[in-house]
Point group: C2
Chain length 277, copies 2
Amino acid sequence: MRNVNKENITQAVLDSIAHTADPRTKQIMQALIRHLHAFAREVELTEDELMKGIEFLTATGHKCTGTRQEFILLSDVLGLSMLAVAMNNDKPAACTEATVFGPFFVPGAPHYDDGADVANGAPGTPCDVRCTVRGLRGEPIAGAEIDVWQADDEGTYDVQKEGLDHAQARGRLTSRADGSFHFRSIVPEAYPIPTDGPVGTLLHATKRHPWRPAHLHFMIKAPGYETLVTHIFREGDEYLDSDAVFGVRQSLIRAIDRQADGTYLMAYDFVLNPQTA
Amino acid sequence: MRNVNKENITQAVLDSIAHTADPRTKQIMQALIRHLHAFAREVELTEDELMKGIEFLTATGHKCTGTRQEFILLSDVLGLSMLAVAMNNDKPAACTEATVFGPFFVPGAPHYDDGADVANGAPGTPCDVRCTVRGLRGEPIAGAEIDVWQADDEGTYDVQKEGLDHAQARGRLTSRADGSFHFRSIVPEAYPIPTDGPVGTLLHATKRHPWRPAHLHFMIKAPGYETLVTHIFREGDEYLDSDAVFGVRQSLIRAIDRQADGTYLMAYDFVLNPQTA
C-alpha cells in the first residue's frame, strides 16, 4: 500500500482492517470508513475544512465533563440519536413509544417513596405526576424501577447548576403492587439546549433554534420487559413541531391540567414491551 | 416535524438546516447528515453502539492537549487525512508530492541558521540533511520558510517527552539565495504512533499495527508558491508498504547513505507548485 490516490485509498483502509476478529466491529468499521470517505469525496473536503472539523470535535470533547455530555447533544441535534431510537424500538402499537435519552441523565439518583416531592427545591409551579406501568395484556407491573428527570422553570437541569450538591427534579421510584407510581414535581417548561459549546455554534451557523418543548424524562426498567426510555411532552407547547432533537411523538403528548384545588396534574399510563429471548 | 421515523428523519434534519446562510457550510452539513444517517442505517446501529461511539469520541477529545492531537491521529488512521491530501494536491508531476500533516507539528519552533544542529540533544545517529527548493522551471527559491520536525531514535517527538522544555529535532530554516538549505539532525527511525489512547484501542480492535516508516516532516512556504506539507521517507524501511496512516509516496523515498567519513547524509530537491490566483 504505497501511492494511494483518492480513488483507491478507501479500499486500502478497508484492507488494513481485514483481520478484525469481532465480526460486528468489522462490519461497523467497514461501513464507517466507506461512508466517511464518501462524505469527504462528495464535498471535496479541503485540508483546512478537515482541520476545522478536527478542531470542532476536539472542542466538543473538551466540553464534556462528568455532568455535561456535548457529544450526546451533537448526536441529538444531528438526528442520529432519534434515528437509533427509531431503528431499535419496533414494538406493538399499544406499547409506549421511546424517544431520545438526552445528555442529562445521571445514574444513581436518590430514591423516593411513592408520593414524595422529587422537585426537592427546584423552582417551578408544583405539579402532581400520576402514572401506571402495565404490560401489553394490561397486567400491572409491580416493582418497576423508574428514573425521572426534568428541567426546572428556568430551563435548567440540576447538573447544570454550578455549586448545587444534590439532586433536584430528579429521582428514582418504584411502582406499587397495582403498577402505579406517583410523585410531586414541578410543571416542565420549554428550554433551550446548552448553546455555550460547539453544538451551540453549530446551531447558530445552521440557523436553528435550540429549543425543546416542555417534557419530563422517564426510564423504566422491569424484569421480563424491555427497558423504556421516553419523555412525556406537555400539550400545547410551541416547540412540539420543531424540537431541536427531533424527539416528539404524538402519543407522548399529554395535557397538564389545573385541578379544582389549584394544583396541576400530569398523568400517563406506560405500557412496556415484553422482553424477547 | 413530529413522529419522525427511520425513513423520514433524515429529511427532517436536512429541513432544519435549510436556512443556513453560508452555502459551503450548508453543503458540508447536508452531506454530513446524509452520510452519517446512511452509515447508521446500513449497520442498523443499536443505541448501545451509539453510546459506545459517543464514549469513544469523548475519550478521544479528552486525550487532546496542547501537544497531543488524538483527533488528527484518528483522521490519519482512518485514511481521511490522506484522502484530503489526495483530493487537494493535484499538481504537475514534476512537483514534490504532499503527504499527511500528522499530529506532531508545533507552530513557532526555534529558527536555526543554515547548517545548524536541529537535533539539539535528541538521541540518534547524526545525519546531515541537504536540500534545495526550486520552482517548476528550475528557478531557485530563496527565502523559503522551512519547518522540519521528526522523531528521535526512540521513536519519540519532543512534544511527547514529559518535562522537556525546549524543541528537539524540530526547527525552522530559511533557504539561501541558491534555494539550498542544510541542517544537521539525526537519522529518522520507524516508530509506532501513540497507542495509549482511543486510537490505539481502535488499532488493536481492528488488528492493525501502529508503525510508521522512518521519515522527516517538512512544511515549506514561499511567496508565489503553494505551501508544501510532506515527508521524506527512508529507503528500505520495513513499513513503507504498511504505513499506519497511508502516507507513503514512492517519489518521497530517499536513501540515507553512510559517507566516507562515517557520517550519514540525506538529500532532497523540493519542487514547489506556483500559486494560482
